[in-house]
C-alpha cells in the first residue's frame, strides 16, 4: 500500500512588503537543494504594503499531490511582532506545533500571548538583528535562521546557499550574518 507523504506545512505571517513570500520561496528552494519536494505560495490575491499577509511552504521528503491551501500549519513564523495584537497568528496551528516569533522582549512576556495554546514557542529578536546586521528592519530571512534551528526543516548551509544566490554581493553576505546570528540566538 502506498505510504502517504509526510508533509510539513509552514505558514509565515507578516505584513505586505516584509518579504514573507520571498521567505517561503527561499525556504522551499533550500529544501529542493536537499532533494525534498516543495510548494511555496502566497495567500492568493492582491497584497497591500503594511497589511497583514500570509505565505506558505509545504515540504515533504516524498513527492506529494495536494495543492489545497494550508489551514492547519505545523509551524508558524511571525515576521512582524505587531501582528500579535492584530491577527490570530496561532489560528489553525496544530496541537504540539511550533511557533517562532520576531520578539525582542523577554520570553515569559511572549508566552502570555499564547495562553492555552499547546505549542513549542520560540522567539528571536529578529528586528534588532536585521537592523544591526543588514542595516534595515527586514527580518524575513533572519526569521528563517531561527526557524530552521528549532525545526531542522533544512540545513543552515542550504539556506545560506539559496540566500547568496538570490541576493548577490554585500546584501546577501549581510543576510547570511543575520541568519547565522538568529540561528544562534533563538530561544
Amino acid at each position: 500500500m502506498k505510504i502517504l507523504a509526510e508533509i510539513t506545512d509552514v505558514r509565515i505571517n507578516g505584513r505586505g512588503g516584509q518579504g514573507a513570500v520571498t521567505a517561503s520561496r527561499l525556504l522551499a528552494e533550500a529544501a529542493i537543494l536537499e532533494g525534498q519536494y516543495v510548494h511555496a505560495f502566497p495567500n492568493f490575491g492582491p497584497e497591500r504594503a503594511g497589511a497583514p499577509v500570509t505565505s506558505f511552504a509545504r515540504i515533504s521528503p516524498e513527492p506529494f499531490y495536494e495543492k489545497t491551501e494550508v489551514y492547519e500549519p505545523h509551524i508558524v513564523v511571525v515576521i512582524d511582532p505587531t501582528l500579535l495584537d492584530d491577527v490570530p497568528v496561532v489560528e489553525g496551528l496544530r496541537d504540539g506545533g511550533t511557533i517562532v516569533v520576531n520578539y525582542d522582549g523577554e520570553k515569559d512576556s511572549l508566552v502570555k500571548y499564547f495562553e492555552g495554546v499547546h505549542a513549542n514557542i520560540y522567539k528571536v529578536a529578529g528586528s534588532i538583528i536585521a537592523t544591526e546586521e543588514i542595516g534595515r528592519n527586514v527580518p524575513n530571512l533572519v526569521m528563517l535562521g531561527a526557524l530552521i534551528k528549532v525545526t531542522k526543516l533544512v540545513k543552515v548551509e542550504s539556506l545560506i546557499k539559496v540566500t547568496l544566490n538570490r541576493f548577490k554581493g554585500v546584501l546577501g553576505e549581510k543576510n547570511v550574518v543575520a541568519i547565522n546570528r538568529a540561528f544562534e540566538e533563538v530561544e
Partner: protein, 380 residues
C-alpha cells in the same frame, strides 16, 4: 536516451516562460493581466537581457496582442502570447480568427474566472468559453506539466498536417503563483526537440502574393471548417506521438498525452477531472485506499480535441463515473460532464455518470472535499 536536466525552483508562470524562451519565438505580443502577467514579464526581461532574440511588441490591449501575433504567424514565424480571463474575452474575435485561420500560435491561458463579481482566482470558465474556437486545449496539473505541455504545444501546433493554435491551460495562482520544482533541460535540448520553424505552414512571399481573410462563399467556407474538424481528429494522434517522443527524450509522461489514469484499472468509483483538481484527486484516492475504498481517476489532459476513445475505453472497465467540473454551462451542467455523458451514450457504454461543479471563483478544492464527494457517491 533521456537528456540531462536540472531541478529548479520556479512558479508555474515561470515554467511557461522558460518553455517559450527555449522555443525561441521570433514574435511575442502581450498585454498584462493577473494572474498571467509574470509570464510575459519574464519574456520581456529575457529579451531585454539578450537571452531571447525576439520582437517583443507592446500593445494597448489583448485584442491587439493576438492581432499582432496573427500578423506575425501569417508572415511565417514562431509566435507566442499569454492571457487570462477578461483579457481572453477581450481578444475573443481574434481567438476565433486564429483557430479558424489555422495559425499555430501558442498562448497559455492562466485560468481565472470571469466577472462579475470582480475576482482574480481560478476556474475554467474563461478557456471553456473558447471550446469551439478551433484551438487545441490542454489542461495541466502542476508546474512541471506547464513547462512540458507548452514545449510540446509548439511541436504539435506547427506540424503542417495539424496547423492549429494551442492553448495550454494552467490554474491561476494554484499553479501560476505557486513555487515548486521543475526539471529543466538544457535550452539546446529543448529547442532540438521542437526544432526551428523554418518550413512554415504559411508565410509572406512577395513573389507569390496571397489574400488573407477574403470573402469566402459557402462551398469553400464549409470545406475549410470540415478541414478543421479533420485536423482536430488528426491532432489526437499527433498529441500522443509528440508526448511519446517527449517521454523518450525527457523521461516524463502524462498518461498517453490525452488522458492520464490514476490508481487501479478498475474501481468502484472513478473521478474524472481537469487541471489541478486532478492532482488533488490523487491525494484523495490514496487516502481513500488507506480506508479501504476503491476509487481511481481519469484526468482529461487534452480537452480539445476530445479524447473520445480513451474515455470510452476507461469507462467500459469501470462502474460509476463522477465528473468534477470547474466551470458551468448555465442552463445545463458542467461542460466536461456534458461531454463525457454524451460520449458514453453514443458508444452504448452504460457506466453511470454523475457530476459536481467545484472550485468556482477560486473556491479551494481540498482533497477532503473530494473524499467527501467520493464517499457520498460510493453510498448512492
Amino acid at each position: 536516451m533521456v537528456v540531462k536536466q536540472e531541478t529548479k525552483s520556479m512558479t508555474g508562470n515561470d515554467a511557461a516562460s522558460y518553455a517559450a524562451l527555449f522555443a525561441k519565438p521570433e514574435v511575442i505580443a502581450a498585454y498584462p493581466i493577473t494572474p498571467q502577467t509574470t509570464i510575459v514579464e519574464n519574456l520581456s526581461r529575457f529579451v531585454d537581457e539578450g537571452k531571447l532574440e525576439a520582437e517583443f511588441i507592446i500593445v494597448e490591449s489583448e485584442h491587439s496582442a493576438l492581432a499582432a501575433c496573427m500578423g506575425a504567424a501569417w508572415s511565417g514565424v514562431r509566435t507566442f502570447t499569454a492571457t487570462s480571463s477578461q483579457g481572453l474575452l477581450y481578444m475573443s474575435e481574434n481567438v476565433f480568427w486564429t483557430g479558424y485561420g489555422r495559425l499555430p500560435i501558442i498562448m497559455p491561458v492562466v485560468n481565472r474566472c470571469l466577472a462579475p463579481g470582480w475576482n482574480i482566482w481560478p476556474d475554467f470558465q474563461d478557456s471553456m468559453a473558447f471550446r469551439d474556437a478551433g484551438w487545441i486545449q490542454m489542461y495541466t496539473k502542476n508546474n512541471q506539466e506547464v513547462f512540458d505541455t507548452t514545449l510540446q504545444a509548439f511541436k504539435i501546433s506547427e506540424s503542417k498536417d495539424i496547423a492549429l493554435p494551442s492553448m495550454p491551460c494552467l490554474d491561476g495562482f494554484v499553479i501560476s503563483h505557486t513555487t515548486g520544482q521543475v526539471d529543466l533541460p538544457d535550452p539546446e535540448d529543448a529547442f532540438e526537440f521542437i526544432g526551428p520553424y523554418d518550413d512554415p505552414i504559411i508565410e509572406l512571399d512577395v513573389e507569390n502574393p496571397w489574400a488573407y481573410g477574403s470573402m469566402t462563399g459557402p462551398d469553400q467556407y464549409s470545406k475549410n471548417r470540415r478541414d478543421l474538424m479533420v485536423a482536430m481528429e488528426r491532432a489526437k494522434k499527433k498529441i500522443v506521438d509528440v508526448h511519446k517522443e517527449f517521454e523518450e527524450r525527457f523521461g516524463r509522461s502524462y498518461g498517453n498525452g490525452l488522458v492520464e489514469p490514476y490508481g487501479d484499472d478498475e474501481a468502484d468509483l472513478t473521478l474524472v477531472t481537469l487541471g489541478t483538481i486532478g492532482d488533488e484527486a490523487h491525494e484523495a484516492i490514496d487516502r481513500l485506499k488507506v480506508e479501504g475504498h476503491s476509487v481511481n481517476a481519469l484526468r482529461v489532459r487534452t480537452f480539445r480535441p476530445f479524447p473520445v476513445e480513451d474515455i470510452v475505453e476507461f469507462a467500459k472497465k469501470n462502474h460509476k463515473l463522477v465528473v468534477i467540473d470547474r466551470a458551468a454551462s448555465f442552463g445545463h451542467e458542467g461542460p466536461l460532464r456534458i461531454e463525457v455523458e454524451a460520449v458514453l451514450k453514443r458508444h452504448n457504454v452504460d457506466t453511470s455518470v454523475s457530476g459536481k461543479i467545484m472550485g468556482l471563483g477560486g473556491e479551494d478544492v481540498p482533497y477532503s472535499a473530494i473524499i467527501d464527494l467520493a464517499k457520498k457517491e460510493l453510498k448512492e
